[in-house]
Point group: C2
Chain length 226, copies 2
C-alpha cells in the first residue's frame, strides 16, 4: 500500500531513509493493528501524525452515554487529520475497521518539510481542504437528507475514493464496512440501515456481500443522491 496518497509522498520525499543518518527518526516504526482496535482515544495528545498505510479506519466522536458518530472513514494512504500539524490534541478517536498498519511522522519535521517544499505544502493544503469540504457535506447529509440519500451518498463517496486509489475493478470493490459503521456515519440505526440497503438491493442497484460492494446501476444510484 506504499504507493498511495500522502504516505507515499512522505516516504518518497526522502523523509524516510532507514539506513541513512539524520532523517531516520522521522518515521516511527510501522505499527500494525487489528480490526475493531481503538488506535487513538478521544483527546489523546500526539507528537506525530499517523498515516494509515494499510487497511481502513474511522474517526469518531463518542458521547458520554455511548452514542457514537463517525466523522470520516480513513482509507489506505490517508493521514488521520492535517489538524495535528498545528495542534497536539486529537479531538476524536480513531477506530480500526480492518486489520492494517499505520506509520507516524514527526510533527516538527513534517512542518519543516512543509515549509521547505511547495509541493508538500500544496499537498497538505489540499488534504486540509478536502477534509473540511467532506465535513461540510456530511453536516448537510445529516441535517437535510433522508436515510436513502445519506446511504447512497456514503456508498458513492467511498466508491469515488476507491476509484481514485485504483481499488475498483469493474463494478465491484473491496468494502469492509459493517452496517454498524454505515449507521454510525449516517446518524441512523443498524436496523434501519439494513432495511434501506435491502431496498437498494431489491431495486437492483447494489449488492454487498463477502466484504465487497458491487454497484450495478451507478446512474440510478446517483440520482437518489439529489
Amino acid at each position: 500500500m506504499r504507493g498511495l496518497g500522502l504516505c507515499s509522498l512522505l516516504l518518497d520525499q526522502g523523509l524516510e531513509q532507514p539506513q541513512a543518518g539524520a532523517h531516520a527518526a522521522i518515521t516511527q516504526a510501522r505499527r500494525p493493528f487489528e480490526a475493531r482496535e481503538l488506535l487513538f482515544h478521544q483527546h489523546e495528545s500526539l507528537d506525530s501524525l499517523p498515516v494509515i498505510c494499510d487497511g481502513w479506519a474511522a474517526s469518531a466522536l463518542r458521547l458520554s452515554d455511548g452514542r457514537r458518530q463517525i466523522l470520516s472513514f480513513l482509507l489506505p494512504g490517508e493521514m488521520i487529520t492535517t489538524g495535528l500539524l498545528f495542534e497536539q490534541h486529537l479531538h476524536f478517536s480513531i477506530d480500526a475497521i480492518t486489520p492494517g498498519c499505520y506509520r507516524s511522522f514527526d510533527r516538527a519535521q513534517l512542518r519543516a518539510a512543509m515549509f521547505a517544499s511547495p509541493t508538500m505544502f500544496d499537498k497538505i493544503a489540499l488534504a486540509y481542504n478536502e477534509e473540511k469540504h467532506r465535513a461540510d457535506q456530511l453536516i448537510t447529509d445529516l441535517g437535510r437528507r433522508t436515510s436513502t440519500e445519506r446511504i447512497s451518498r456514503l456508498l458513492l463517496d467511498c466508491w469515488d475514493r476507491l476509484e481514485k486509489l485504483g481499488l475498483v475493478e469493474g463494478n465491484s470493490a473491496e468494502f469492509p464496512l459493517r452496517q454498524i459503521h454505515i449507521a454510525d456515519a449516517t446518524g441512523l440505526t443498524v436496523a434501519h440501515v439494513n432495511k434501506i440497503i435491502g431496498q437498494l438491493r431489491e431495486g437492483g442497484l447494489i449488492e454487498i456481500s463477502d466484504r465487497a460492494l458491487q454497484i450495478n446501476d451507478i446512474a440510478k444510484l446517483r440520482r437518489l443522491t439529489i
Copy 2:
C-alpha cells in the same frame, strides 16, 4: 467592531495603511450589507478572504430542491473560512443575518504575511482548527443528539463565543438569530424549534425576545447538553 479577532489582527499588522504606499491595496473597501442579503453564492470564486467586521452572517449549503443547511454562524471579527487561503472556490454560500459590513484581504498578501509572521501563522492555524472542530461537533449534534440537545448546544455555543467577544452583559446578550436560522443549523423545522424553545422558556431556562437571548439557568441548560 474593529477591535475583534482576526480582523483587528490583520489591520493592526500594518496590513492596512490607507495613506501609505505598498500595503494600501491589501484591503478592499469596507463593504456594507443588509440583513438577508446573499453575500457570496455557492461555488463563487474569490481572490480575497472576506472577514465579517460587523454584524452576523452564516455559511450554508443549499440542495437543488431548496433545502438549506447552515454550516456555521459568523460573528463580528471572523474570517469566512481559512480554506480560502489555499483554494479559490467557496463551496458554500454566505448569507447575511443582520446588517453589517465585511472587508476583503488579498489572498497572496495574506499568505505572504502568514509565512513572514509566526504570530499570524499561529492565529490562522488556530482559526483553522477551531473551524474543523466546530464542524465535527455539528456532525455529532446532527447525527446523534436530540432536538433539545441540539438547540441547547447551539445557544450555549453562541453564548460562549459572544462572551469571548465581550458581548455578554450579565445574563443577556444581543442575539439576532431567527428561529429559521436555528432550524436550518440544527436540521429541524421552524415549527419544531418553536416548540422546543417554548419548553426551554417554560422551564425558566432561557428567554428570547427583542433580538436578545437571556440565559437564566446556565447550569441547567448545560446539563441538557450531555
